[in-house]
Symmetry: C2
Subunit: 138 residues, 2 copies
């Protein structure tokens, strides 16, 4: 069993289903468990996002809103353009402001889980290819 696989798969906020809808914006397999959907009053989406080892999303930017990550299990990375990648562990919190280009995902050898609180829309950009991922997370 890969590192933290059990912790992520038994995460209290649920593994959810394979993240098919957004798969084209990821390298590797992720799982998504929706917790709160936006409505007329609540203008954020709250979801538990789970990544297999090495899985990460493409560079992207949040518009007309923000994203907050609450790390609940495993180990992962968060990187803003022009900055070193930050190693993330359970209890870490990342506040991503509107307009900030970034990506996030698991470490090479560990499953990873975070809750994402998202307002607004996402602009998806280039992929975090293997060369870049390996270089920026070593």
């Amino acid at each position: 069993m890969a590192k933290n696989e059990e912790a992520v798969k038994k995460d209290m906020f649920g593994l959810g289903e394979k993240n098919v809808a957004y798969a084209k914006y990821f390298i590797g397999t992720s799982y998504l468990n929706g917790l709160v959907a936006p409505d007329d009053n609540i203008d954020v989406n709250v979801s538990n996002v789970n990544f297999e080892p090495g899985c990460r999303n493409d560079w992207h930017i949040h518009h007309d809103g923000f994203q907050i990550l609450l790390v609940t299990a495993g180990e992962g990375w968060y990187q803003e353009e022009g900055e070193p990648a930050q190693l993330l562990k359970p209890g870490d919190v990342v506040a991503i402001h509107e307009g900030v280009k970034h990506w996030h995902g698991a470490t090479k050898d560990s499953w990873f889980s975070h809750i994402a609180i998202t307002k607004g829309t996402s602009e998806w950009l280039e992929k975090v290819d293997d060369d870049y991922y390996n270089q920026s997370t070593k």
Copy 2:
């Protein structure tokens, strides 16, 4: 050691300091660990709120926003006016819409911890006195 005391005190999102600022709106002792403060872009507050056994907040209403509770440790109660109290356990999620009168807090014999995602202002109302608390949570 009381039920779930260690789970709450070692919760990954932190116990924080005694919640002195809001103590007048609670019966019993709570602890608050701020995770994300609102700013020009981010219009929610994210905090980890921790309750000793029997601690609960007063009836209140969120205006111009909402509150989402993500339960991370222990056992607690959430009650909306006119509805039975709901027992909360880790992994439970409560979405509280604008205008809904409610209270939340620990069970009698367990510590309790939830993350609160809050937008807007709170209107604080009457206390959940011992008679009401004992009656609605038995």
